[in-house]
């Protein structure tokens, strides 16, 4: 039986203690986290999660720190500076940032994803892009237990009525790769098989938040339900229903229910910025854009109020 205390203990065991920044060696026993669901341990991988521009900046800054720090080191000072410089150089050269990895962040650009092939963690977060490339994943941690959604989750419910048949609405939505057309916080969604997909959401300052998801319920023209799996940048689960409107032919109510758990700390505020102050407003705006796509074939735009006088 899961009690609040046991959940709290388990969260701290798995999310905090499993990461030992000093020993990032993937074979080290200290870094094998426990998987809540299966009880098996999963390997940690080092992952390339730093964008190319940032890598260059890291390299340059690190080199500068090293160059000015080493002479100081000779005189017994400047240890921190040299260490920081070395760290930044490592980051710039390998494109891998342990701190980002710990937080589940990534500033990698889309092109890099396509070209890479990295180590894959076993467990539920595996996948191959349709173009045949493997992509590496953040290291595994178990996905959130249902009770965590109760304790810390944010619940969003919105609906919109669209003058199109439910089959049209379902067919568009079910092609998950099209979702970024109306969900503007999403950068990409890639379907890796019939039920699995990899999602990337974009946040300010070039950060992106990623997760794997699986479809747990799929009723044609009626319902799609999903949940994130594995080490999601943000644990989330939800559903979209397509409901015939009584008394109105060819009208469909599209009802979205979404639950997500804002992560703690820095990642939490980045996820918060994805959804803005009011997650309900964000989802409502997404649904309005979905309606525009379905009814007019395009998303309304004012070109940022341009042309205009400067």
């Amino acid at each position: 039986m899961v009690t609040p205390n046991s959940v709290t203990r388990t969260i701290s065991e798995t999310t905090l203690d499993q990461y030992d920044l000093e020993t990032m060696d993937s074979e080290s026993p200290a870094t094998k986290p426990r998987d809540l669901q299966s009880g098996s341990s999963t390997k940690q991988s080092t992952v390339r999660n730093v964008g190319s521009n940032e890598r260059n900046i890291s390299l340059a800054a690190g080199a500068l720190l090293l160059l000015t720090g080493l002479p100081k080191l000779m005189r017994g000072r400047g240890i921190l500076q040299t260490a920081a410089g070395a760290g930044l150089v490592y980051r710039g050269m390998t494109g891998s940032c342990p701190l980002y990895q710990h937080l589940g962040l990534s500033t990698r650009d889309a092109q890099q994803h396509q070209q890479s092939s990295g180590k894959r963690a076993s467990g539920s977060s595996k996948g191959v892009y349709p173009d045949g490339n493997e992509r590496d994943t953040p290291s595994s941690k178990p996905s959130a237990a249902p009770s965590e959604y109760n304790l810390r989750g944010i619940h969003v419910e919105q609906s919109v009525t669209i003058s199109k048949p439910a089959s049209d609405c379902y067919a568009f939505w079910r092609e998950l790769g099209l979702l970024p057309q109306f969900m503007h916080h999403l950068k990409s969604v890639v379907e890796t098989d019939q039920t699995h997909s990899h999602w990337v959401a974009s946040a300010p300052l070039g950060f992106s938040v990623e997760w794997d998801a699986e479809i747990i319920n799929d009723e044609k023209d009626r319902l799609i339900a999903w949940r994130s799996v594995g080490n999601a940048g943000v644990d989330n689960s939800g559903s979209v229903r397509f409901i015939d409107v009584p008394g109105r032919e060819d009208s469909t109510e599209v009802r979205v229910v979404l639950d997500y758990i804002p992560p703690a700390g820095k990642l939490g505020s980045i996820v918060a910025s994805l959804f803005g102050e009011e997650p309900n407003q964000t989802v409502k705006a997404d649904l309005k854009r979905f309606q525009q796509l379905m009814e007019t074939g395009e998303v309304a735009t004012n070109g940022d109020g341009k042309p205009r006088a400067k």
Binding site: S251, G297, V299, A300, T301, G303, K306, P307, R308, A309
Partner: protein
């Protein structure tokens, strides 16, 4: 290109701006041949309308020639070279509201729908050149303008009608006409119209077209009252005599059957309620001044209709709802569903039943637009409708 841009209260300028571009597949680019200044543009000029940004291009009454089409435009409906008038509201034709011909309520054309939704509960359709709350679309007091969803919006006009004859299909003619249609006019009716500006002028002429026995035009501007008399209206100068008494006298003690408030949120007036309005608006306790509307409700006969083409934006105070209820009035209102009326109105023009050119008092080049705004704002007697040529 040149365009008329808003910068702050009482500050509009002709600026050099980028050309508009095709952004969406169903867009068109229109070369503007004629455009007009609307009375509601004066609300922008007077600083009444929120969510304006310095640099916004104004103008929602415009027509011209299609010069570029997006890849998704239905080519059976629109082609490069077509001469068209563009309704002032942007509408899609496919949503629940457009299908009911309520195009000013279109669900899909306000990219900033969240703003009016917060204030109103839902967002109306987007409009050209009328603040970011209503879409943030660049307006047509310019050489060129981007027209979204052009295959639904653009209305072709025949070559044998001049720009002057068809330009007002964009806004004021359908607005006055819808006001008269909303008034539910029956045979024998006396229709009282508050406001003798361009909308009031089209409303009273439309009322006569739709079968009114008599129209009464109420205002305090001599030049406007003269234009009303030219159409056969009886006039009341509200600065010289009490409106309510005069209306009762004209209708044998019953009150006008139908009342049209073609004044809207900037109502002036000498009464106590008008004075209170002014104070409240100045001190942010109210947003709209509703003197004309209150008077219309007071004067309307029992069981009559009060039709409101507007414009209203926010909230009003001291609304005589008891009077409206006690007399069993019908209130009909709304932003104009332009698309709905265009075919019918074009027929009226072609048949010579109404020649819209009567309303034009000034023709000026676009480069002179800032002067035109100033003139219009300061001299409503002589300046009724200004047509600008880019």
């Amino acid at each position: 290109m040149k365009a008329l841009t808003w910068h702050s209260k009482f500050d509009v300028r002709v600026s050099n701006v980028d050309m508009p571009k095709i952004l969406n597949p169903r867009d068109a680019i229109l070369k503007v041949t004629s455009t007009a200044i609307c009375g509601s543009d004066l609300h922008l000029y007077d600083g009444y309308i929120p969510t304006m940004k310095s640099g916004d291009i104004l103008g929602h009454e415009f027509m011209g020639e299609i010069v570029e089409l997006g890849a998704g435009v239905d080519k059976s409906k629109l082609a490069v070279g077509d001469r068209v008038v563009i309704p002032f509201n942007v509408a899609c034709g496919s949503c629940f509201f457009c299908k009911k011909q309520l195009t000013s309520c279109c669900d899909n054309t306000n990219p900033n729908a969240a703003i009016p939704r917060a204030a109103y509960g839902s967002s109306p359709a987007g409009m050209f050149g009328y603040s970011h709350m209503f879409g943030g679309y660049a307006g047509g007091q310019a050489e060129y303008v981007r027209v979204p969803l052009a295959d639904f919006g653009a209305f072709k006009v025949p070559e044998d009608l001049t720009d002057d004859q068809v330009l007002f299909l964009t806004d004021i003619f359908p607005t006055g006409y819808m006001a008269a249609a909303n008034a539910e006019i029956e045979k024998g009716d006396t229709v009282a119209v508050w406001g003798a500006g361009p909308v009031g002028q089209f409303a009273l002429r439309s009322a006569l077209l739709l079968g009114a026995e008599r129209v009464v035009s109420i205002d305090d501007v001599p030049g406007r009252l003269e234009m009303s008399r030219a159409a056969g209206a009886t006039t009341i100068d509200m600065s010289k005599e009490p409106v309510s008494d005069k209306l009762m006298a004209l209708t044998g003690g019953r009150g006008p059957d139908r009342c049209i408030d073609a004044v809207g949120l900037e109502a002036h007036g000498m009464s106590i309620d008008a004075a209170i309005d002014r104070i409240k608006v100045a001190t942010f306790l109210a947003t709209d001044r509703a003197h004309a509307l209150r008077e219309a409700i007071q004067c309307c006969r029992k069981g009559g209709t009060v039709s409101v083409p507007g414009v209203y934006g926010g909230v009003i105070d001291k609304f005589p709802f008891g009077a409206a209820f006690g007399k069993g009035l019908t209130l009909k209102m709304g932003q104009t569903h332009v698309h709905r009326y265009l075919p019918e109105l074009l027929k009226h023009i072609q048949a010579g039943r109404l020649d819209p050119t009567f309303v034009i008092t000034h023709r000026m080049p676009l480069s002179d637009a800032p002067n035109a705004y100033k003139m219009f704002s300061e001299n409503k007697s002589q300046v009724i409708k200004v047509v600008l040529k880019p």
